[in-house]
């Protein structure tokens, strides 16, 4: 019994640790860059994106019988990034993934999992011609593009018109922090909703992209969390944003408790901070309006920046027929396919002049026009090594001080900035 029990403990405890290794070879990169033939791609499992992906693949395959695309949704996991990281390590990543998070690019790059798109003769020029100045935010620290900026979901404030009407608000004042707080108090006092707004209070590294970061981008006129190798968020602007959210939590206008479901759709909150992808989920459920995120001084809408919530396309080093993959990438992000993507999903292609390029679409869908305007002023997560660790460090400090009020907000940001600066230096 003693031996068996000891063995059982070793066996079960052994399951605590993971393993992984690499081996094999990637072949000649130059030859692969010119090679053509069948390829595989992955896209998101969002229903609208799947519909777009299927038509794009069908259109390509109809004209390229010898270079067919096999497409599938990204396999299920705790997150897409985790699945992609595992696929890179296993050497079975597809050629292209139309759902690559910019925050994970530095990690995938370190793993040797990405193909620099500059390695194609027209790679750099295609990206910069299509996206304009916005493209610069997606360059890696070595100056190369390991991702093609594909589409953004500029984060804005959605409000429930019926809930606001119940609180006696017809034209919501939400442009300054004082306005936003006053409107929130009015909505909650009138019991039009349990809380004014419900950003996810959980501790995942990416949650700050949907509470702190959009308002920080707006307050600073477009600053990233890290610039020139140093954190920027422990500034006066950063502390103002954090203090604003602290007041929202302290006054019970936002909730620190995890919510299962969509609080905005359910009517638990009167506002949501989200991008245009969510419009499809609100259809027939919420009568919504949208405004830019607030700033302390109430900047005019035309000057407000926000978080892009972009997802990009990257080419993975396991790809053998990279010549075909590059052609597919250009085909899928052509003016025609970007227009189809916009029509199918309501998400903004990351190309310059979206509003004028697809003027017909925005004339027919005026709800989306404000997002097209906002798309020209978006801020991306910084493309630096240790990106996820940096965001988790920030989230831990934000969670402790802003959401749970267990530390002074300013002190928490100062301490987090010191840690983040160390992490940036390690890269």
């Amino acid at each position: 019994m003693k031996l068996q029990a000891g063995l059982l403990a070793v066996v079960l405890a052994g399951s605590l640790v993971a393993c992984g290794d690499s081996g094999g070879g990637s072949g000649d990169a130059d030859a692969a860059a010119k090679a053509r033939g069948p390829i595989t791609i992955w896209y998101s499992n969002n229903a609208e994106e799947v519909a777009w992906g299927k038509q794009m693949v069908a259109a390509w395959n109809a004209q390229h019988a010898d270079q067919k695309i096999t497409a599938q949704e990204i396999p299920t996991g705790k997150s897409s990034e985790e699945v992609i990281g595992a696929a890179i390590t296993a050497g079975n990543a597809p050629c292209l993934i139309f759902n690559t998070s910019p925050a994970s690019v530095s990690q995938f790059q370190k793993q040797g999992g990405l193909v620099p798109l500059d390695s194609f003769p027209d790679g750099k020029s295609y990206i910069e011609d299509r996206s304009g100045d916005v493209a610069q935010q997606y360059k890696s620290t070595d100056g190369k593009y390991y991702q093609l900026p594909w589409k953004s979901n500029p984060v804005m404030i959605f409000y429930n018109k019926k809930a606001f009407a119940k609180a006696g608000i017809t034209t919501p004042a939400l442009s300054t922090y004082d306005d936003f707080l006053a409107t929130s108090r009015k909505v909650v006092a009138a019991k039009a909703a349990k809380v004014a707004i419900y950003p996810a209070p959980s501790n995942e590294f990416y949650q700050s992209w949907f509470d702190f970061y959009p308002l920080y981008a707006a307050e600073t006129g477009g600053k990233q969390l890290i610039e020139n190798g140093k954190s920027t968020f422990a500034s006066d602007e950063g502390k103002k944003v954090a203090q604003f959210w602290r007041t929202m939590y302290q006054d019970k206008l936002a909730s620190p408790e995890k919510y299962t479901g969509d609080a905005f759709v359910d009517g638990t909150s009167a506002m949501a901070v989200v991008g245009p992808w969510a419009i499809a989920t609100y259809k027939g459920k919420v009568d919504w309006g949208v405004v830019p995120v607030p700033t302390s001084s109430g900047k005019p809408a035309s000057e407000i920046h926000t978080f892009s919530d972009a997802k990009n396309v990257a080419m993975y080093s396991a790809c053998k027929n990279r010549g075909t993959a590059w052609d597919v990438l250009k085909f899928a992000t052509s003016k025609d396919q970007d227009g189809k993507f916009l029509a199918a999903t309501g998400q903004m292609p990351l190309r310059k002049d979206v509003a004028t390029t697809y003027a017909d679409y925005f004339a027919k869908n005026p709800d989306y026009k404000v997002f097209a305007d906002q798309a020209s002023r978006t801020v991306e997560v910084p493309n630096v090594a240790n990106s996820i660790t940096i965001w988790q460090t920030f989230r831990d400090a934000y969670s402790k001080s802003v959401i749970f009020g267990q530390q002074d907000v300013g002190q928490a940001l100062d301490e987090a900035a010191q840690k983040v600066d160390q992490l940036v230096k390690q890269s």
């Binding site: 019994m1 000891g6 094999g24 990281g85």
Partner: protein, 298 residues
């Protein structure tokens, strides 16, 4: 006596060895190799890389262990898991033995109760977590019943109550499995012993203490060990129930931190160091438990 070549390789009972071999191979491939590899990773600047990628993974000695042991989040997670085990393991033993004993008696609706206790164990955590979120949030059923006695902040966002709530949740969820273990063990306790105890004037409580408890001691050893090892593996509940180990890391477990550092943040070397420390910790706790709980078998 001269031993043949088959006996030399396969031992005195070659058929038995042949039957055991597939499981030994399975253990070696699925548990022993990863464990050994994790130890290797923990002593190197290791990260996962694409096949064929030229990467440098130098030996770094105890650097990853120093990183882990000086990380306040990791320290907190180990304290948290100790809190969890101190609540979860005794509660599991007491409740599962008590309920198994009750279910072993000829009571009405016995099958219904047995199924009721087992259903949470076989239900996916993701589904059950949703119910507990509903029960324990500030406007949930539990607080509605407690009224003015409800804690503020509420259970799952209260840094003092989050981990105990998770410990109770896990106890409830796994109870069915441990009740089954005890039910099986109870079938082996001789009826003669109960009759002898009765003749000696022992009541039901004294019979339980002096016949049942010693009679199921091997099962108790197993329950304690399994509850400890699965408790040390705690991940799903802090990941889902308290939104990533909140509030402020008060319910973060070592495995959750391993996941964050090793998988999300791309530092499997640091994750492996946490894992190795956890394995050592679990083995030590298991040995201590064996010494105290299983002493009469030795």
């Amino acid at each position: 006596m001269r031993r043949g070549p088959l006996t030399r390789v396969m031992g005195e009972h070659p058929v038995g060895t042949a039957f055991v071999t597939p499981y030994v191979v399975f253990l070696a491939a699925v548990f022993a190799y990863p464990l050994g590899f994790a130890v290797y990773m923990s002593f190197h600047d290791y990260f996962f890389a694409a096949p064929g990628a030229v990467v440098d993974r130098p030996f770094v000695g105890f650097e990853n262990y120093v990183t882990v042991l000086t990380d306040p989040a990791v320290q907190r997670s180990f304290v948290n898991v100790v809190i969890f085990l101190v609540i979860n393991v005794p509660l599991t033993v007491v409740l599962s033995l008590g309920l198994a004993n009750a279910l072993n008696a000829a009571i009405r609706w016995r099958t219904f109760f047995r199924v009721s206790y087992y259903v949470p164990y076989v239900t996916a955590s993701v589904a059950v977590v949703g119910v507990w979120l509903f029960l324990f949030n500030s406007n949930g059923l539990v607080n509605s019943i407690l009224g003015p006695l409800a804690p503020d902040p509420s259970w799952l966002v209260n840094s003092k109550l989050a981990m105990p709530t998770i410990a109770i949740y896990v106890t409830w969820k796994q109870l069915g499995f441990f009740i089954l273990l005890y039910l099986a063990a109870l079938q082996n306790v001789s009826k003669d012993l109960y009759e002898a105890a009765e003749m000696d004037g022992a009541g039901r409580w004294k019979s339980f203490l002096n016949v049942t408890v010693p009679g199921v001691r091997p099962a108790t050893t197993l329950v304690v060990l399994v509850a400890t090892v699965t408790g040390a593996n705690l991940f799903t509940e802090p990941y889902l129930l308290t939104g990533g180990g909140g509030p402020d890391g008060a319910s973060a477990s070592p495995v959750l931190i391993m996941y964050q550092r090793g998988i999300e943040q791309g530092h499997p070397d640091v994750g492996a160091a946490i894992g190795v420390l956890l394995v050592i910790g679990v083995l030590l706790v298991a040995l201590i438990e064996r010494r105290f709980v299983g002493r009469e078998e030795d």
